[in-house]
Amino acid sequence: MSDLCASVNPQDLLRVENMSVAFRGQANAWLAVTEEVNFSIAPSEVFALVGESGCGKSVTAMGLLGLLPRPGSKILQGHAWFEGVDLLALSASELVKWRGAKISMIFQEPALALNPVRTMQSQLREALRQLPKAEADVRIEALMKRAGFADVARVLRSYPHELSGGMMQRVMIVMALLTKPRLLIADEPTTALDVTVQAQVMSLLQELCRETSTGLLLITHNLGLVAHYADRVGVMYAGRMVESAPVQRLLENPRHPYSQGLLRAVPEGLDSVEKLAPIPGSVPRPQEFDQGCRFRNRCPIAKEICARKPTLRSIGEHHTVACEFAT
């Protein structure tokens, strides 16, 4: 534990400690879907949470904002320190004051996140409803211009179906940043978009967050995005954080066998699929989770010791790994 504390910075904007989330499974039993997740984000920093579907990235983010369905889910343990307050200990009514004002979120599908029967303007104004309308409109217009809209007035009059996916996602970014939040959570912000639009949306996000020193928690499965837009990265597998490091370090020198496998499975720069190294088998389901390392059934170097619970330990500056054999 002391190793972990060494990397904790008192200047952190958000510090998540030992966070576990459970869902109600069959026969009403609680089933832990994420376990003892630790990470921190500093102001202006982009921290990426990567992993395959079902690894617990989104559950962690939704849990921080109290957006998980209740009943049906609960925070088993842990803290999420944000400006001296533990977000996980707040009641739903207290959390409302933080959500949107100091912490904003952008979702994967802008078409589903926007209200189809209201104009962009009326939806954007809602984010600033505590301000007089005239003042709100000035701020909306200024930020919309920054987001690269040529004809702001037309976009503001539009309904979601009149805009493209990339335009809708840019409106979502504007909406999320209108209140000048300290922290922005972006859950797969470009997965539903074309690659040509992805570059535009990501650079907008990066630029606006830098300008206001907003911390960004970027949830994605796209390692290319992580390489270009994140400062530090945490790799999750089957509900646990298995490795965390500065981005360059992780990409050049991944230490956990899962991180290594993930990077080798990306077909980038290869002239033949035969050079790919797929990870055999598939991810265990939460019903199959046990104490031991959850990657051991697919791991090329697993030994008996891997049936014991792995601990996250530090193996270098800001580099932690949950594998017995990593050095």
Binding site: G166, V197, L251, P267, S272, V273, L276, P278, S282
Partner: protein, 324 residues
């Protein structure tokens, strides 16, 4: 003769969707989703079709298996000319050309066992139960599933296994051509690699031809032989996959490649300016002219033709020599 190894070819294919308006639903205009599209695939060849959403990739896939009405176009199977507007043609083609869908969760009936899923298309095409069961087992082994899986329902399989089932369903019919519409985009990276290798193996062992529709340029580069780049319903460039990243010549192909964030290069992804125009109001002349960084006044005069730059590289832009 070149024609003998061409399994499937389409020439001058156009697909229009009518826009109906008013009380009587009169057809006011058309969305020209595909315009004068040529495509051919040889035995054992993998041809990839890439482009942004709305460029007509999926319309092409469904037109190739007869799920769309052809406005114009000619269809050739093994060099024989067939009538695309005759339902008997598609009935016949169904055993030769099969589709593998994008979503392995939505494309399998959750109430059918694997055996029923695989036998269904065989029986619909008049193959008896005895012969059918033999073929089902054969197809199962080809995709790496086992006989003991036959009684299971789709929910018991992972995403990667389901996509194998989708492929087995086409193989059981002894299809010559698979039309794969984004076959791995619903899968995780580690599983995607398994499915890509399976497709490669089937091409080598069975001489299967594959039309691979994808937005992932790295996947295309690693798996395909030839790449067709589409923009707004027409081909802008055809290029061997090995040259895609280094030698793509059309400004749109270059913009598409430059916008991908990559692991190994520190180059910042480039932003392609402007919005994709609507298919109902295509810009005059070259359809890419409204977003092209190298646009000149001549570009809006008339739509350029596909020109052959080298034997395997065709480009719909007259200025590529000067652009370098």
């Amino acid at each position: 003769m070149k024609h003998t190894d061409e399994v499937l070819a389409v020439k001058d294919l156009s697909v229009w969707y009518p826009i109906q308006q008013g009380l009587l639903g009169r057809v006011q205009s058309h969305v020209k989703a595909l315009r004068h599209f040529d495509l051919s695939v040889k035995r054992g060849e993998i041809v990839a079709v890439v482009g942004e959403s709305g460029c007509g990739k999926t319309t092409l896939a469904s037109a190739l298996v007869g799920l769309r009405t052809w406005q114009t176009g000619e269809l050739f199977l093994d060099g024989e000319r067939l009538d695309p507007n005759n339902s008997a043609t598609w009935k016949r083609l169904r055993t030769s050309v099969q589709m593998v869908f994008q979503d392995p969760y939505g494309s399998l009936n959750p109430r059918q066992t694997l055996q029923e899923i695989l036998l269904g298309p065989l029986r619909a095409n008049g193959i008896g139960l005895v012969e059918g069961k033999v073929r089902v087992l054969e197809a199962l082994h080809q995709v790496g599933l086992t006989e003991s899986d036959l009684e299971k329902f789709p929910h018991a399989f992972s995403g990667g296994q389901r996509q194998r089932i989708g492929i087995a369903r086409a193989l059981a019919l002894r299809s010559k051509v698979l039309v794969c519409d984004e076959p791995t985009s619903a899968l995780d990276v580690s599983v995607q690699a398994q499915v890509l290798q399976l497709l490669q193996k089937l091409r080598q062992e069975l001489g299967l031809s594959i039309i691979l529709i994808s937005h992932d340029l790295s996947v295309v580069r690693a798996l395909a032989d030839r790449v067709v780049v589409m923009y707004l319903g027409s081909v802008v460039e055809i290029i061997p996959a090995q040259n895609l990243f280094a030698h793509a010549r059309h400004p749109y192909s270059q913009a598409l490649l430059a916008s991908v964030p990559t692991l190994n290069s520190r180059k910042t992804p480039q932003i392609l300016q402007g919005e994709i125009p609507s298919l109902t109001e295509l810009p005059p002349g070259c359809v890419f002219s409204s977003r092209c960084p190298h646009v000149r006044p001549e570009c809006s005069l008339q739509e350029p033709a596909l020109q052959e730059l080298s034997e395997a590289n065709l480009v719909r832009c007259p200025w590529t020599q000067e652009l370098g």
